[in-house]
Symmetry: C2
Subunit: 342 residues, 2 copies
């Protein structure tokens, strides 16, 4: 394929390309890309704003990450934080730093993915810095949305006896990463072998093209449910549970038998001779929502058709406990649980 | 000096350190660092938001950039974009990616600089992602502020015959960089020689610790002056002039004899056997404000005590012209002017 050298296009050319690709669709996007700053109409009381970085070699490996998926994921990981505040994202700014090894076509691929995500979640790309990088690809996004104070859900308001729930299932993104890394190693050893990913499709998809759980927030508003506390699972369930309990001044009990684990996570972790439970407890990049609700509201939720699983409850006692199937209690320490059980 | 290994501190430790250092001072900062997103009270009609990256090896060289200055500059370059919209920044989010070669003490130095800038400009640090980097230090900031629509100044509203003005003087940041690079080379050749920066103090200071021109915005509001168009000079005067003329559908004439150039820029460029004018036209990282005002308002401004210099005017004719002292007219092309005259 013929590719176009970025040095020929220049920074202005890249910016013009991005400008032409993204048109504002929301009436609140007064000025988008192309000035010193974006201007957003503030139609509600409170701005919700969050920023996240993705760094080549740390958060992604371009040898098995299609740029279109990476563009999509770059948007999604930022939106997820706004949904985790029980709010809807409306705009995003995306900074990108790239080396001259990238062609114009590669950038187009990346922004195709960005555009797909913006369309899927109905948000506007309103700004961002485009610059060169001396090493790899670096993406830094900032997502924002507006909400009234009464509707926002933070981390610090979980109550004792609140039921702790999680959306979807856990561990797939992590196991998907293990599969991709194994296939890369196999390819390096023997480049003639084509990667065999068919049996791992949903695992790999969750790693490469995760979704933000807008549908859960839709469900909450539709059913007039407001969680007491909420966070998205980007660093792993254990870590996020500790964020909630620490911020709310509580402890928690979660139960091994309750954790939502798919069959492909179990079978693939077994293939790797790893304990499936560690993918569920410590696997990152899930972008599922972890939240707590009073038991009375949980009963209401229980009768509705939505993929939410109760996994335990908060406690006045400030102990973070994981209850095994054999009733053994394990103290979950920040990031440290893996070392105890494996 | 004893230093503390980042691996011992961990991401949570770094985040706790940042949390404890930065307390919200503005009543509009409802929730700052520590949740999925920050919450900002929207007290005016429009949010102004801008995002910028600084990358090691591209935007700074740690061999001659003190981390405290870098922290300060990381805030200032983002604030400058909000001032350039004739608005006041109120909050900032700062993402930082760093490798394990950094010690905790190095991070403290960096955030000392961030804190100084936040205090100087009276803004709150309300969020940001802390992550690891496989290569160098990466900083991505997002600054925001609020303003009513009537007060915001964009790039696209310059009028024919508007006087084009610039704050301060130009070229120092670029010449400061040349001096620092030369001293680094000399040090590599002979490490026993101490760098001699005394004669270049203001040049080096503008490169390492630039200011955003809040005082110019204060001056505008105090004197009831609103520019028709404005931009900050981050990429060089020529480049920013072209942004304004292109966005406003105009051309311009600027005059060599009018350009604000300090004696140290002239003498140091001569030392390097370079034309001083190229530092003024194409030197980046000045963070001065470039704006246009109707001639009648300029007359008012002219009688007031402020370091603003008229350098030319906008024209209906869509030509971007630089008039030399000998009256020769040169077409300024995007980034290309250097090639014609040197």
């Amino acid at each position: 394929m013929n590719t176009t050298d970025l040095n020929k296009i220049g920074e202005f050319g890249i910016v013009d390309f991005i400008n032409s690709k993204f048109k504002n669709t929301r009436s609140s996007s007064i000025v988008g890309i192309g000035d010193d700053a974006a201007i957003i109409n503030s139609n509600k009381e409170n701005l919700i704003i969050s920023s996240d970085m993705l760094i080549e070699g740390v958060h992604f490996d371009l040898s098995y990450t299609p740029l279109k998926h990476l563009g999509y994921k770059s948007v999604v990981v930022n939106l997820s934080d706004i949904y985790a505040m029980n709010s809807y994202p409306t705009q995003i700014l995306l900074n990108i730093a790239l080396s001259s090894k990238f062609s114009m076509e590669a950038i187009e691929e990346f922004y195709d993915g960005v555009k797909y995500a913006c369309d899927d979640y109905k948000i506007d790309l309103v700004g961002g810095d485009t610059t060169s990088s001396s090493s790899g690809l670096i993406i830094s996004g900032t997502a924002l949305g507006y909400n009234s104070k009464d509707n926002i859900v933070t981390r610090d308001n979980a109550k004792p006896d609140d039921i702790i729930c999680v959306s979807g299932d856990l561990g797939r993104a992590y196991v998907g990463l293990l599969v991709l890394q194994r296939e890369k190693e196999n390819f390096i050893k023997n480049p003639k072998i084509q990667p065999s990913l068919d049996n791992y499709k949903k695992l790999v998809e969750k790693q490469l093209k995760p979704n933000a759980r807008k549908d859960i927030i839709d469900f909450f508003y539709k059913n007039n449910i407001k969680p007491n506390s909420m966070i998205d699972i980007s660093d792993g369930l254990s870590s996020e549970l500790i964020h909630l309990s620490k911020s709310s001044g509580l402890g928690f009990k979660i139960y091994e038998e309750k954790l939502p684990m798919s069959l492909d996570v179990i079978s693939t972790m077994n293939e790797f001779n790893l304990k499936p439970i560690s993918a569920v407890l410590d696997g990152g990049e899930e972008y599922e929502l972890l939240f707590s609700i009073p038991i009375k509201i949980f009963e209401k939720l229980n009768s509705l058709d939505i993929d939410i699983t109760p996994i335990g409850h908060f406690t006045k006692q400030k102990k973070n406990l994981f209850i095994l199937k054999n009733n053994q209690e394990i103290d979950i320490k920040s990031q440290g649980w893996n070392h105890f059980i494996q």
